[in-house]
């Protein structure tokens, strides 16, 4: 504000006098409050998770909670061991990542580097449409179309398995992987590619040795966002993962990932009771897991940005 008050040697002075700009100030405040609100909501969620979930982790020591295989919430006394849920989450998220990453990154390379602009625009909007499918619809598709196929292929009693859930989740995490990786590839300055072509590189060499390495941190961030989507998705896994409580030893076992455990258990849990609190504790652990993955992704994107900032 000093600028408005200091009168330069040439000015007559009066017209440069500071004048309160009320509209400006109000907008500033409103925007500020919006920012604060986002933080309040985040902290509020964390607070509720901690308040409801921590008692369960005190009741059942955290290592027993994490590594115990027995989940008997209504026995007397109840036992809460979530390792089979945890392993199920790893299976499902792992399968999803394994399938979605090569396809997603390959598609991003195609869209950013190979496809003619018109084709790229159409394909990209189709891929993004995929992310708009409600997860219950994806679950339904998995139930009706994919699970019979899985059952026959592996000769199982039920087609509702971790693999089925993983395949459906891979389709759901594909859009974010494709679009974030594509953005990262498009952000690679054209000058790098020109330089590589100028040195006598083929198109493939330019893609593989310049574009992809330059975009690598963005691509890894995309992968991690896909992973956190796969970890957090609930409805689809609830519908197609099979819901068995036993420790899954093979990807084609029916299983209950952590999200599905919460969703299927919360309806029967007495509010404030031990099971209720244990489910919140699972939620807390999920929150920490996805927070961790997202933090890494954010950090990696930051590195990407800095890489291209000159000086």
């Amino acid at each position: 504000m000093a600028f408005f008050n200091s009168s330069p040697a040439t000015g007559a002075g009066s017209s440069l006098k500071g004048r309160p700009r009320w509209g400006e100030r109000i907008i500033e405040k409103v925007i500020f409050l919006n920012g604060v609100l986002a933080i309040i909501v985040l902290l509020g969620v964390l607070f509720i998770l901690l308040r409801q979930g921590l008692p369960a982790l005190v009741e059942t020591p955290i290592h027993e909670f994490l590594f115990g295989t027995r989940w008997y919430p209504v026995s007397e006394p109840p036992t809460f061991g979530i390792s089979s849920f945890f392993v199920a989450t790893l299976w499902v998220a792992g399968i999803s990542t394994l399938l979605a990453v090569p396809v997603g990154v390959g598609a991003a390379i195609y869209l950013a580097e190979v496809a003619p602009k018109k084709v790229a625009d159409v394909v990209k909007s189709l891929v993004e449409l995929l992310s708009g499918f409600p997860s219950v619809v994806m679950g339904f598709i998995g139930l009706v179309l994919l699970s019979p196929w899985v059952r026959e292929l592996f000769n199982l009693n039920t087609g509702l398995t971790g693999l089925t859930a993983g395949i459906m989740l891979s389709m759901m995490s594909l859009p974010i992987i494709v679009s974030v990786s594509e953005d990262a590839l498009r952000a690679v300055p054209d000058e790098f590619k020109q330089a590589a072509y100028g040195l006598g590189s083929t198109r493939w060499e330019v893609i593989w040795h310049v574009s992809v390495p330059s975009a690598l941190s963005g691509i890894s961030a995309a992968v991690m966002l896909g992973v956190s989507r796969a970890i957090g998705e609930t409805m689809t896994v609830l519908m197609v993962a099979g819901g068995a409580l036993a420790m899954p030893v093979s990807p084609v076992d029916p299983m209950t990932p952590m999200t599905a455990a919460i969703a299927s258990g919360i309806g029967n849990a007495v509010q404030g009771g031990p099971q209720y609190q244990a489910l919140f504790a699972i939620g807390l652990i999920l929150f920490v897991m996805t927070l961790f993955v997202n933090l890494i992704a954010a950090r990696v994107l930051e590195v990407q940005k800095r890489k291209f900032a000159r000086e």
Binding site: E191, Q194, A196, G198, S201, E205, H209
Partner: protein, 278 residues
């Protein structure tokens, strides 16, 4: 390495030794026209560039200097809709003939760009990029190439202790010399420079100009420049381009630099170099 023919399949080579020494033409354009879609960007250019010389292309902004330069290593191929007709020869071979291997061509005709554009990797990896793409994997051989190229680019002493650092961490002038070293590592015969000093300060510019003079003993250099003093300082031959009424670039005058600058044949050249327009 650069003894291969630019033809994809043939084996006869047009080696450098055969041409060096005599002032034969390295590059030649005859009635060359460049189009971007329906836009006639550069019209009817005829000139020849001698071996081991520096040829400057000057002219006002938008006259097609850079476009013309990129005809020599077919960089315009990367622009959709660009097409060239007429004759463009490198070592007597029409480079727009079907069957010419563009990758091999660009290996032998290197390019330095307007803005220093080192890859976001270490200084060492920047220089080793070209040789690696062309199949050199041996660490010692790469070490030698990197050292030799950086020496040639007059950058070795400044970076020899930090070869592992990012190519983007050094100053703009150093980055541009790194880009030159990166081109030299591929052992080209011709180096095209597209306003290589326009993003640099005067001292860095002088360093690059010195470097160009040294390199011209071994390499054929074609440089596009906005800076007429630079053309006058470094080049042996000067081509002056201008736009005609249809906004196409045309070659107004081409000759030895001393003549173009002291005794231009064309009134328009005189007006330009004396600063009456442009």
């Amino acid at each position: 390495m650069n003894m291969n023919s630019i033809f994809k399949s043939s084996t006869d080579d047009n080696s450098r030794q055969a041409d060096s020494g005599n002032a034969s033409s390295k590059l030649r354009m005859q009635h060359m026209n460049l189009y971007y879609g329906s836009f006639h960007a550069v019209k009817d250019i005829t000139l020849q560039v001698n071996t081991s010389s520096i040829t400057a292309i000057i002219g006002p902004s938008g006259c097609g200097k850079s476009s013309m330069l990129r005809v020599f290593n077919r960089m315009n191929d990367l622009i959709p809709g660009a097409s060239v007709d007429g004759l463009v020869e490198f070592d007597g071979i029409n480079i727009y003939e079907p069957g010419v291997d563009v990758v091999e061509l660009r290996k032998r005709i290197g390019m330095v760009f307007q803005k220093p554009n080192p890859f976001p990797m270490s200084i060492y990896d920047n220089v080793a990029f070209g040789p690696r793409r062309h199949g050199i994997r041996n660490r010692r051989a790469l070490d030698e190439i990197v050292e030799k190229s950086l020496m040639q680019a007059a950058l070795w002493d400044e970076v020899k202790d930090k070869l592992g650092q990012s190519g983007l961490s050094i100053s703009g002038g150093q980055q541009q010399r790194l880009c030159i070293a990166r081109v030299l590592a591929v052992e080209p015969e011709v180096i095209l420079m597209d306003e290589p000093c326009s993003a640099l300060d005067p001292i860095a510019t002088l360093k690059i100009e010195d470097l160009m003079r040294t390199l011209s003993e071994t390499y054929t250099i074609v440089i596009v420049t906005h800076n007429m003093q630079q053309a006058a300082r470094v080049s042996d031959m000067t081509a002056f381009l201008m736009v005609d009424d249809g906004h196409s670039g045309v070659l107004v005058e081409y000759g030895p630099t001393s003549e173009v600058f002291t005794n231009p044949r064309d009134k328009r050249t005189e007006d330009y170099i004396t600063g009456r327009f442009g």
